[in-house]
């Protein structure tokens, strides 16, 4: 059928085409091989890196936070081992059963239980589910005893923040809690070290020194598969604990301050008048910072938030109060410095029945019957308002504010250390013009002389002021971080022109406490070892009306919100002063009955502790 010649033609055609295709095949094969060469040999490094990036993943672990120590090396914020319960859902045979079993063992509430179930849904089945993050030892042992029945459940001991002195240091240290989005955004270091469960300082020194305290993450390097599941651990790189920070505070005194202000709202500050070391700084009421570490419960939070005594406010630093009579030493000093008055200058005080009338206004002394003719010392001793009205009238607000500022008022004591610290306010004519746009009134000068009106100070400022009076009028820079090296050139430079003036003020304060008719005479200590000098203050919260004066109510009869703040500033021991103290009791009533007695108890302790502190300083303490 098939023609022979056609067959030959067909064969030659097919063979020719086969040859063409053969050549094409060789070329294409060459192309494929060159592509392989390009990928596998030339670009090998790039793809190897990509492959490693694929398979190796690093896990950061929360770093171990640096601790805080008090002056004597006691840990006041440290790390403790928290008993936790971890569970990896896919390793649990019967999740429902196991979780119900745990619920029964730990006695979890329905609410907590639902939270755990919700958390489980959010994570991948091979990720760790933290069932409980801070178990009691009792519950932890219960779990351990029942482990035979709880497949896949892991009791874990993890490291977490603890504040062994609970509410004592809350306002100095602040507290740590779970880092949130805002923390990560605002702080580069936190962003860099962020891991699930990282706790960061939310307030106080914990926040200020976040970058020092945080430490560095331990890093686990794992080989992972395409779904992110860990296959094997390749390396473990241990991180460093954060820096330890030593404070100047004395826990014993801090604790006493807390006890003295028990169920009161107020503040106690104690300062070394030479070194500026803050020995104690307490704001009451306080709260237990440990509650915040694992997230505070809603009930506890509401309790703290709605407390009328405002535990969340650090009254020592951010409480702006009228200083009341505690400003009088500065008024007197300023008058002496500016040679407005001499020690012999007297004013006749006729009590608030016969008030002083100036520029059409009446100004009352606190004492009904009046003090009669008083000189500077007597006026300070008995806290005669009439005398200080007259002195401040003569002095003028600008000269007063100049002196007050030299003594640390109207300015943050710790600078940037605490972001909640307030400036207070020392008014002057220019200040009023700038801030309120109105001229200064003379009447305002007069009430500023007894620490009312615009003037506002924080308790720590009053403490610094007292310290500078006590050390003979020398500039000091308070500090709470022990080893912070300050480079203040004017440290310990005199801030007064005449040393005699300071001595006069110190004497006046001494007589106020230790001489009969002194406002804090009842709170004196006669033993010269503990003897201290002070000045009371009673800051009005609202203007006293004529009706109030007639009623002359006891403190307990006035509504809490309207009661006066009780203040007291003091230094001691008198024969060789070393410590200054400021005490404030919010709505406590009068300074002499409420605040001064606190100082009495405080000074005993302070002086006793001084011996130990001095010995500790010279390391004798360690050699015994």
């Amino acid at each position: 059928m098939i023609n022979q010649s056609d067959n030959v033609m067909k064969l030659s055609s097919i063979n020719r085409r086969m040859f063409i295709l053969g050549v094409a095949k060789v070329i294409i094969l060459g192309g494929i091989i060159s592509r392989l060469f390009f990928l596998q040999v030339k670009e090998n490094k790039k793809y190897l890196t990509l492959s490693d990036k694929n398979r190796i993943r690093e896990w950061k672990l929360p770093p171990i936070r640096g601790s805080f120590q008090d002056y004597f090396g006691n840990t006041i914020a440290g790390n403790f081992e928290a008993y936790q319960l971890h569970l990896i859902p896919e390793e649990v045979e019967n999740f429902r059963y196991t979780i119900n079993r745990i619920k029964n063992i730990l006695g979890l509430s329905e609410n907590q239980f639902q939270k755990i179930l919700k958390k489980k849904k959010e994570i991948k089945s091979w990720e760790t589910l933290i069932v409980a993050n801070n178990l009691t030892w009792e519950n932890f042992s219960k779990i351990n005893n029942n482990l035979y029945d709880l497949n896949g459940v892991k009791p874990v001991i993890s490291i977490s923040r603890s504040y062994p002195f609970k509410e004592n240091y809350t306002h100095i240290l602040g507290y740590v809690s779970q880092a949130n989005k805002e923390d990560v955004l605002l702080n580069e270091t936190i962003k860099e070290k962020f891991v699930q469960g990282l706790k960061v300082g939310k307030i106080g020194l914990e926040k200020t020194f976040e970058n020092d305290l945080i430490g560095s993450n331990s890093i686990e390097r794992y080989e992972v598969n395409a779904y992110g599941r860990r296959i094997s651990q390749l390396a473990f790189q241990k991180g460093d604990q954060g820096k330890m920070i030593k404070l100047t505070v004395d826990t014993e005194i801090q604790k006493l301050a807390n006890e003295l202000l028990y169920e009161k709202a107020g503040s106690i500050c104690v300062m070394d008048i030479f070194t500026g070391h803050v020995i104690a700084m307490h704001s009451s009421p306080s709260f237990d910072p440990n509650k915040f570490v694992f997230g505070i419960s809603e009930d506890d939070w509401q309790l703290i938030r709605n407390n009328p005594m405002k535990p969340l406010v650090n009254k020592s630093l951010s409480g702006n109060y009228s200083p009341g009579s505690t400003i009088k030493p500065i008024v007197a000093l300023s008058a002496l410095e500016n040679e407005i008055v001499s020690t012999k200058f007297t004013v006749n005080c006729r009590g608030h029945k016969n008030p002083l009338e100036l520029y059409g206004q009446t100004y009352h002394c606190w004492k009904k019957e009046g003090h009669g003719f008083v000189n500077l010392k007597e006026a300070m001793k008995q806290s005669c308002d009439t005398y200080f009205y007259e002195v401040s009238r003569r002095l003028g607000v600008d000269r007063l504010s100049e002196t007050a500022k030299k003594f640390g008022l109207g300015k943050k004591v710790f600078g940037d250390l605490f972001d909640i610290e307030k400036n207070g306010l020392i008014p002057s004519t220019t200040w009023k013009k700038n801030a309120l746009g109105r001229g200064w009134l003379l009447g305002e000068t007069i009430i500023t002389g007894i620490g009312q009106g615009y003037i506002q100070t924080t308790p720590i400022q009053l403490c610094l002021m007292t310290a500078q009076i006590a050390n003979g009028g020398h500039k000091i820079y308070p500090k709470i971080i022990l080893n912070s090296n300050d480079i203040d050139d004017d440290k310990f430079m005199p801030v007064v022109k005449n040393k005699k003036n300071i001595k006069l003020i110190q004497d006046a304060m001494f007589s106020s406490t230790n001489e009969i008719r002194g406002t804090s005479y009842r709170s004196r200590i006669e033993d010269p070892k503990y003897q201290f000098a002070g000045k009371t203050g009673t800051a009005q919260v609202k203007k006293i009306t004529e009706r109030d004066r007639e009623l002359d109510l006891e403190t307990s009869e006035i509504p809490y919100e309207e009661r006066d703040h009780a203040l007291y500033i003091a230094f001691g021991p008198y024969k060789s002063p070393r410590y200054a103290v400021s005490i404030l009791v919010e709505h406590g009533g009068s300074g002499s009955t409420v605040a001064a007695p606190i100082a009495k108890k405080l000074f005993k302790k302070i002086v006793d502790r001084h011996e130990i502190r001095k010995n500790f300083e010279t390391k004798k303490y360690l050699n015994i």
Partner: protein, 375 residues
Amino acid sequence: MYLHNRLNNKSNNFFQKIRDLDFVLLISILSLGFISFATMYSTDGGQLLFHTKSHFVKFIIFTILMLIISFFNIRLWFSFSYVFYLVVILMLIWTINFGVTASGSQRWINLYFINIQPSELMKIFIILCLAKYFHRKRLENVNSFYSIIVSTIIIFLPMSLVIIQPDLGTSILISISGILVMWFAGLNHKYFFYSFLMSLLSFPFIISFLKPYQKLRVLTFLNPDRDPLGAGYQIIQSKIAVGSGGLFGKGFLKGTQSYLEFLPEKHTDFIFTLFSEEFGFIGSVLLLLLYAIIIYRVIKIGAISRSYFAKLFCYSYGASLFVYIIINMSMVLGLLPIVGSPLPIMSYGGSSMLATMIGFGIVMSAKIHSKQSIA
């Protein structure tokens, strides 16, 4: 001797047939089977799991089938060519109505003991069918209007049946196989040139007919980094696997890309990436060399075959194998968009292996009966 054989080809006994087997081809296929078995073992993470066992069993069965096919006279395959073609066409139609659906396309027929993919079988039977068709044609008739229309229909019928499954990759491979036969049969070059021009011109038109996922594949091919975790993931991970293999590879069972499950479709279309990652450039070139030997042997058998049918079949089959391999490799090396095309023998998949082995069987039959002429 030759004369003797020619005259007594019917009396070829069984042992003679065994002696006439192409041992180079057989050994190459067996080596390829061994390599594919080892690679499959690696995809299972170094364990004898389902894929490995199943692949091994299929390879053994289909090798035996190949030998059985090769002992039948090539004339038998010649005479049944059209029948086979029609049977597979019927199977394709059956698939459309009663096929088993998996991952969005209806490709399989459930034969109770095995699921078979007729489109894979069509790759081989279209060559068989067209080879028979052109065997009878005179060279001058090859370019006649009538024969062009008939052969085009022979190609278009299965192609369209496969494309509606939908399975673009296989239908392209079927048509390429068909076109290769037409080319070897001596179809004028100008037709290829014109149709190439036509397809270029109609390219934008075709694009609009593509399904969204197919368009995405084309776009991804042009720029894999546009969606590295989505559409571009396969090709990026595939390139990483191949590239990280280096000159000598990461070692057997040590391919991290596959072991850690970064490679998609590592059992089937992307098996070469795993092989390449573990055995490197050297291994890959050796594998290509093995394929080249196989193709060379297939073409060689075609060259020594007396019958035009056998010659046409062997040449076309060799060329098709080459195209399958090149398309698969280009795909995994990022030179072509991703279309479903398995690597012959290496890839997991019974139908593909069955088709390939039937092809080898017919080629071997052509070798054993190379002196056989077909009327």
